[in-house]
């Protein structure tokens, strides 16, 4: 009997230990400390193809307010969230960019207040009358907007802690859309969207190079497995069109090869498209029109290639845009339901049904922990599938502290169009909570189903001196799969 009690106590203690939160030091307010970390402005050559003004429009103040008025009639979230914030500050210490910098404008509530004060000035004079902070839209305010709405990764962590679920991403997106309308945007985001229209993907990989890379990976796979595993491109009549982040073809090649092995093992015909070889949607970080247009390419490619199904690869904002696809570009009923499908859903389901022969011990050299990308988990509902995949392919899996995972996950620090080198200090500051959470587990492999995270987190781990390799979730399956 006593033994049982001690057992129970030990279990409870172990549970408490694995389930306790990460203690994150909260900085005091340090005004203006991040004010100089600003993204490079957009170039005219990129603004033109994405239907934005190539320079600041005349009467830009009036135009901006007109745009705000328009957005207020189009987005209930924006209207409600500008009105109802009680300024309680529950969100203040929840944003990785505040935790990393201490700049008060990186507190979600203060960030939203940058727009709220303009809203008050033009649309809610009663609050202004009683001493509420109100300011006309001027050069100074525009500068604040440009700085701090591009220090927000639209990850929505703050909304989880807001008693009314106020989603700062809605506010950030509105502010960015207003700025875009007057010709103010960042070089990185606009360049990427323009590249998609020109080359079909965010990295600007031309079709011949894409095909080359695929052939190279086929050879790699041949050497590794001795089998003819294909990476088909533009094959009409394939069952599946896979839209992955283009970085998988180029940088995260382990993940790309894992997809190929997966379909090979299943015997499913699949293809990528050189017209839409990108799942990622930077339109999401700019305005509705470009988000819709980028997404449309995927369905156009699906029609063109006569596929039965579109599967989105390991990418975060691709998935956030993907779940909007039916609304933006649908109906998608020319495809087999359910749609859209994320590759983790697809694979986790097949693993459950025993479709693969798996040797878990192949991953025994790794102690794995899992980073929930904000867009896959918090915005995209995929909390269990990647975990199920890891549990099915690895023996050694450990969770990070509970206040840093699942819907409370921290952004890697470079989502929302921030993965650009000129704001490296902000990126490293924003990545700090994730680095500390990873360090606390002692893991040597950080599994991430998102290309932005895969680009950002290795830099973060290096910067904060955490000894963990960053890789995909499918990479683990690939290692453990017995062909």
């Amino acid at each position: 009997m006593t033994e049982k009690w001690t057992d129970f106590a030990a279990t409870a203690l172990a549970w408490r230990k694995t389930n306790s939160g990460l203690a994150i030091p909260i900085p005091e307010v340090d005004e203006g400390v991040a004010a100089t970390m600003v993204c490079h402005p957009s170039k005219a050559k990129d603004m033109k193809p994405i239907a934005l003004p190539t320079e600041r429009v005349p009467h830009w103040q009036a135009r901006a307010i007109e745009k705000l008025r328009e957005l207020l009639t189009k987005y209930r979230g924006l209207q409600v969230y500008l009105d109802i914030c009680a300024q309680c500050g529950a969100c203040a210490d929840k944003c990785q960019f505040y935790l990393g910098t201490g700049d008060p404008n990186n507190m979600p509530v203060a960030r939203a207040n940058l727009l709220r004060k303009v809203y008050r000035y033009y649309f809610k004079r009663a609050e202004k009358f009683l001493g509420g902070d109100a300011e006309p839209f001027n050069e100074q305010v525009l500068k604040e907007w440009y700085t701090y709405f591009y220090q927000c990764s639209e990850c929505r962590r703050c909304s989880v802690f807001c008693p009314y679920g106020i989603d700062t991403a809605e506010i950030t997106m509105a502010a960015r859309e207003i700025m875009a309308a007057i010709g103010v945007a960042t070089k990185y985001v606009t360049e990427v969207v323009a590249k998609v229209y020109e080359r079909g993907n965010n990295l600007g990989i031309p079709a011949p190079a894409w095909i080359d890379n695929c052939q190279f990976l086929e050879e790699e796979l041949k050497t590794e497995t001795g089998k003819d595993i294909r990476l088909p491109v533009d094959e009409v009549g394939a069952d599946v069109l896979l839209v992955m982040p283009s970085a998988d073809n180029f940088a995260n090649t382990d993940t790309m090869m894992a997809y190929a092995k997966l379909f090979y093992a299943l015997g499913i015909s699949w293809t990528t498209s050189t017209y839409a070889n990108e799942g990622g949607n930077f339109g999401l970080f700019l305005n509705y029109q470009n988000m819709k247009k980028v997404n449309k390419r995927i369905l156009d490619a699906a029609r063109q290639l006569k596929v039965k199904r579109v599967i989105w690869g390991e990418c975060g904002h691709a998935w956030r845009a993907a779940i909007y696809t039916n609304t933006l570009n649908g109906p998608m009923d020319f495809l087999d339901p359910p749609h859209p499908v994320h590759i983790c859903q697809f694979t986790a389901d097949l693993i459950k049904r025993g479709a693969f022969k798996i040797d878990k011990s192949a991953n025994d050299d790794l102690l794995i922990t899992y980073h929930d990308p904000c867009n896959v988990a918090r915005a995209g509902s995929l909390l269990e599938e990647p975990r199920a995949m890891i549990r099915a392919t690895c023996n050694r899996f450990v969770e990070m502290p509970r206040n840093t995972i699942r819907e409370k996950t921290f952004c890697c620090g470079a989502g929302g169009g921030l993965l650009t080198d000129e704001i490296m200090p902000i990126r490293m500051a924003g990545g700090k909570p994730r680095a500390e959470a990873c360090r606390s587990t002692g893991a040597n492999y950080l599994a991430v189903p998102c290309a932005i995270c895969k680009a950002q987190l290795p830099e973060v781990m290096k910067h904060w001196k955490v000894d963990a390799r960053v890789g995909g979730v499918h990479d683990l399956l690939s290692r453990a799969m017995v062909l």
Binding site: E28, V29, E31, K74, R76, G77, Q79, V80, Y81, D83, I84, C85, A86, Q87, C88, G89, A90, C91, A92, D93, P104, M107, V109, A110, N113, K124, E127, L130, G131, G132, R156, S159, V160, F161, P163, Y164, G165, D167, A169, Y288, Q289, K292, K293, K296, I323, Y324, N326, T327, L328, M332, P337, P338, P340, A377, R378, G380, S381, L383, E407, K408
Partner: protein
Amino acid sequence: MNDAAMVWNLVAALIIGFAYLSAFVLVGGLLLRLALYIQTPVPLKIVQTPGPKSAPGVVARIAGDVLIFPNLFQADRLLWLGAWVFHACLFLILVRHTRYFLYPVPELVIDWQTISVYAGFFFPIPALYLFWRRLASSRVLYISGLPDYITLILLTAIASTGMLVHYFARVYLVDVKAFTLGLVTFAPVPPPPHPIFIVHFLLVCALLIWFPFSKLMHAGGIFFSPTRNQIDNVLYPRYVNKWNEEVRVD
């Protein structure tokens, strides 16, 4: 009629006029705001996941948000306690005050009388905590504006004057009830000539006017928060944005 009586009648008429004005502004302002929220479209599913998979689940989620503030509990335990007690006191005080506007008084209100009076006495404590918190933390101090302080001061002043006329400088209740029932039946009579009561009453009127134009709208707006009131079914059925067609791409 002597001069004093004439002045008093004039003051009483002004108070009654102000009362109707404030009720009109509250109801009109609230209806306009809520109508604005209802008619503004929600273009995309932005539900906070993991979320409820069905409509009853959404009702339960919102009910939870209104009653126990679960998100705040996760964010900051002490703030949650302060805010919850603050709102619970407000609720009890409101329930108790229906006795001045209903005849006969509902049994529930009579049953809750004692605890509601305690809530009135207790109210300044969480209010003071919320006020102190705005000054004590550098983060909350940074975001606090004049309206945030004014709202707390106004509510505390209302509660304090209320307790004064209830306990220390009692107002004659029959007069109060005659006055309030007169207002709701549109047959107004002058208020009891009790200065603290009149201050209490005018502050309440000011609060009603302030309500629809301020952050107090969180009381109504929470029902319209898309992250909380949407069903977590992003994949099926197709969610339609009614202005999607207007946005032309190529």
